[in-house]
Amino acid sequence: MEIFDLTIHELHEKLKAKEVSSVEATRAMLDRIEAVDGQVNAYITVTPEQALVEAEAADRRIAAGDIAPLTGIPMGLKDIFITKGIRTTCGSRILENFVPPYDGTAVAKLKEQGAVIVGKLNQDEFAMGSSNESSYFGPVKNPWNLECTPGGSSGGSAAAIAARTATATLGTDTGGSIRQPASHCSCVGVKPTYGRVSRYGVIAYASSLDQVGPLTRDVTDAALLLGAVAGYDPKDSTSVNTPVPDYLAGLKSGVKGLKIGLPKQYFIEGLDPDVKRAMDEAIALYKSLGAELREVSLPHTEYAVATYYLIATAEASSNLARYDGVRFGHRAEEVRGLKEMFAKTRAEGFGSEVKRRIMLGTYALSSGYYDAYYVKAQKVRTLIMQDFLNAFNEVDVLLTPIAPTPPFKIGEKLADPLQMYLSDIFTIPVNLAGTCGISIPAGFSAAGLPIGLQLIGKPFGEATILSTAYAFEQETQWHLKKAPL
């Protein structure tokens, strides 16, 4: 077992026992990045000097007996997180050289605990994508099979866990961007309830859907890292002022008597047979552990993807207006006049998927179309939310696949955006409903590619999905398997 293989809680014990120093752990991680990231391309920016300074500070803290769960742990951040003094690109050319003047709230919380940031992770440009192929900094390769995508948009955050180039990472999830890559890279990923984690200092894609969450090697780490970043933040008006439970303490509560719902709309014809098999095995396992499984209905599921692509793109078209070349980021040269500066800056700075979504969103908000598209989508969103609330009157947790298929090949779906959009059909409804979901490793396909299982909880029911996931993890070995890298 190498240092870079350890989970947060394992490394924490060793740091606490002074068996290893944070500087050693950080060096090991930086060396590992140096050794394998050329193949994976999970990192956009690696920050060895800053990381070692932070590691030294962590070691001093540990020596003084002041160790928090994340003190000295080498972590990576999706490049959507604003980091003071560290380039933050959001996977886009338009922010290629953008160095922010401030830290976001989640990052500040990690730093307070003394976590060590080793670098910024690759992602789909502005988090728009399901395969990490829209990044200006090139696609991320799936450590389980370098020809496959790691999923997206937090592809770098998931791949770094699988490649063991970070102990844990933070990602963001707007329509599945944590859970789907976690599933494709066989790691644990949590999309918390909307409002659970502050969005301050997270570059906005779709403000009413974006949520920060952890990607980790096991459920314990996920509970720990979620607990570290969750909580009300006066700087984010949409964060919710409700206490954060002790997720770690509740992990072992078990599933005996737990009511698990199986939404019939998620177990459809055309589900990949390997995925189907993994779901069947998971269902059988939960039954054997004493959970009560029953079918439930989420009748508006089929409208979720269409609804998402109206709301998310509408918000994005407005959120991305600030990239105009005036105050920061890329500015086109040799332009005549203002209009040309705006147009050329944006034409050069944004990639094609971002442009497609800006155009879609602009259209959905345009006078004459607003009611037919945006307003209608909001109404459907309410129905989808209602579906979940109805289901949660009957059951405690929902169990579903994360994606209809195991990871697909790089380039396979690029020519057909609609096909790509549909691959998020099982994750998108959770964002629209604003509730929480977790992806955990649940097996491998015949070709050896990871398959994830999704557990969906009630709003602010993170503790329940974590303990349900933990019970599964205790009985399975999937999370212990290492990518061949």
């Binding site: 570059i203 008006s237 949409t238 407005s318 207006a321 005036v326 105050r327 920061f328 908000l365 607003y370």
Partner: protein, 480 residues
């Protein structure tokens, strides 16, 4: 004139909160460019707005003072357009659910009272400023100053109820007075704290169908508003007289020429793509909040004026002048509280006090060195007969210059009025003896000479003789 003008006004008032509407930066005017900015008001990636509660409170005040109903579930919307002074590429404003609706103000023009409807009042953030100048080290270029970006505004939109430039001015002045009374706006037109856009159209007299309107922008004084509207009436009338059609467009007022010119037409009008801002949650205003604000509203000028007339017995004119600003009214009321003779105080405030401030570079009443307490002391000295009215004016000037108490000045300069009959009698005798010719004239029936004697005695006493005693003694001696 065969056309009837129809005018509607949109007023932007900048609120006097200490900090901006969605961040903690200062709203101070005139600081070093871009010194009052942060990631939020610069529109940096990842930054989020947080509403300043004071803005909501100020908006409720404005709504209650203009007879509006208050919307209890408020939603902020994004107004999307690109411009370099707009950091986020959208302005956070309100769209279909403004905080105040369906209000009105009553104005008076040529003795007639007229009701002007207020369609809506909404909260929004201001944009920054572009400075087009040859700036040292930058060259001939456009620079962006974002100090003003994200400062809070109320946009107050009237119904198209005004039918003359005078009505428009009366409405604006009234509104200006109210926001100043409410303490929510400093009312400074030149600094842009109170800005007005005017929608102007013409229709044939007797018609009920409005003509096509032009929107006039960039008008920053009451004088210019009148000029701009008058010019616009002339321009549109000429077009209509020639059988042409007025185009719906935005026109910029040029204060140098007093004319307006086209800025952009309807075909260039933006599609602002308004939608609810997902970064802000709806603002709920419970009844209790509205009632709390209502109970703390200051007495407004209209009510104050009526009270001055009814309770203090002031003439309409005095009341009107005294309520013209909240500060002046407060000065007056504080003085009356200490010296309860309403009309005498009114005369002094409108007379000596106003004159002194005016001569002192239009100094504000709040900075007046003669405080209400000092003025009341002075008036008391006059009432007691310690000094004459004439001397009181001299003492007032000295008080204004030095800030000293009137008793002290009277004492230092020996200005105490002489009421001692013996002393005055001696002076009277002296004057009469020295002017036998005039005494002859008076006794011969030319009673106007009496004033001459009074003047001579007052001069001999250096103004200190009690005029009533002087009159009495003179009469007695002359008639004897």
């Amino acid at each position: 004139m065969k056309y009837q003008v129809v005018i509607g006004l949109e007023v932007h008032t900048q609120l006097t909160t200490n900090t901006k509407i969605f961040c903690g930066c200062s709203t101070k005017f005139g600081s070093e460019p871009n010194s009052q900015t942060c990631p939020v008001c610069l529109g940096f990636p990842g930054a989020l707005p947080v509403l300043n509660r004071q803005v909501v409170e100020y908006a409720i005040r404005a709504g209650l003072a203009t007879n509006c109903s208050i919307t209890q579930r408020n939603v902020f919307a994004r107004k999307n357009y690109f411009y370099p002074d707009l950091p986020k590429g959208y302005q956070i404003s309100q769209f279909d659910l403004p905080i105040c609706q369906h209000g009105h103000l009553d104005i008076e023009v040529e003795g007639e009272t007229k009701r002007i409807g207020i369609t809506r009042i909404h909260m929004e953030e201001d944009a920054g400023k572009l400075v087009h100048a040859d700036i040292q080290g930058v060259g001939d270029d456009s620079c962006v100053d974002l100090n003003r970006a994200c400062t809070p505004l109320l946009e107050i939109v009237s119904e198209p109820d005004m039918r003359s430039p005078d009505e428009a001015i009366a409405y604006l002045k009234k509104l200006h007075q109210i926001v100043m009374y409410l303490g929510i706006c400093d009312g400074n037109l030149e600094e842009g704290s109170f800005r007005c856009d005017a929608n102007v159209s013409l229709m044939p007299v007797g018609s009920t169908v409005f003509g096509t309107r032009a929107e006039l922008k960039n008008i920053n004084s009451f004088k210019f508003i009148k000029q701009a509207i008058e010019y616009e009436i002339e321009r549109q009338a000429e077009i209509l007289d020639d059988g042409g059609k007025v185009i719906q467009e935005t026109r910029l007022f040029d204060p140098n020429t007093g004319t307006t010119r086209s800025m952009r037409g309807k075909e260039e009008a933006h599609d602002y793509r308004y939608f609810p801002d997902p970064d802000l949650v709806p603002v709920l205003i419970p009844d209790q909040w509205i009632e709390d604000v209502r109970s703390e509203l200051p007495e407004l000028p209209e009510a104050k004026r009526a009270r001055y007339v009814a309770e203090l017995g002031l003439p309409e004119y005095d009341a009107e002048v005294l309520v013209s600003s909240r500060e002046l009214a407060q000065y007056y009321e504080e003085t009356v509280a200490l010296f309860p003779q309403a009309k005498i105080v009114s005369n002094w405030v409108m007379g000596e006090v106003a004159r002194a401030l005016n001569e002192d570079n239009n100094r504000s009443i709040t900075d007046c060195p003669v405080t209400p307490a000092l003025l009341a002391d002075l008036l008391k000295l006059m009432e007691k007969g310690t000094i004459s009215g004439k001397i009181a004016k001299t003492v007032f000037d000295e008080m204004y210059k030095t800030g000293k108490a009137p008793e002290k000045i009277v004492e230092e300069k020996g200005l105490v009025q002489v009421s001692d009959t013996g002393a005055i009698e001696a002076m009277v005798d002296e004057v009469l003896n020295a002017n036998p010719g005039q005494v002859e004239q008076y006794r011969g029936g030319k009673e106007t000479v009496f004033g001459f004697f009074v003047g001579q005695v007052m001069r001999a006493s250096k103004g200190k003789a009690n005029p009533a005693v002087v009159n009495e003694l003179l009469l007695k001696k002359l008639k004897a």
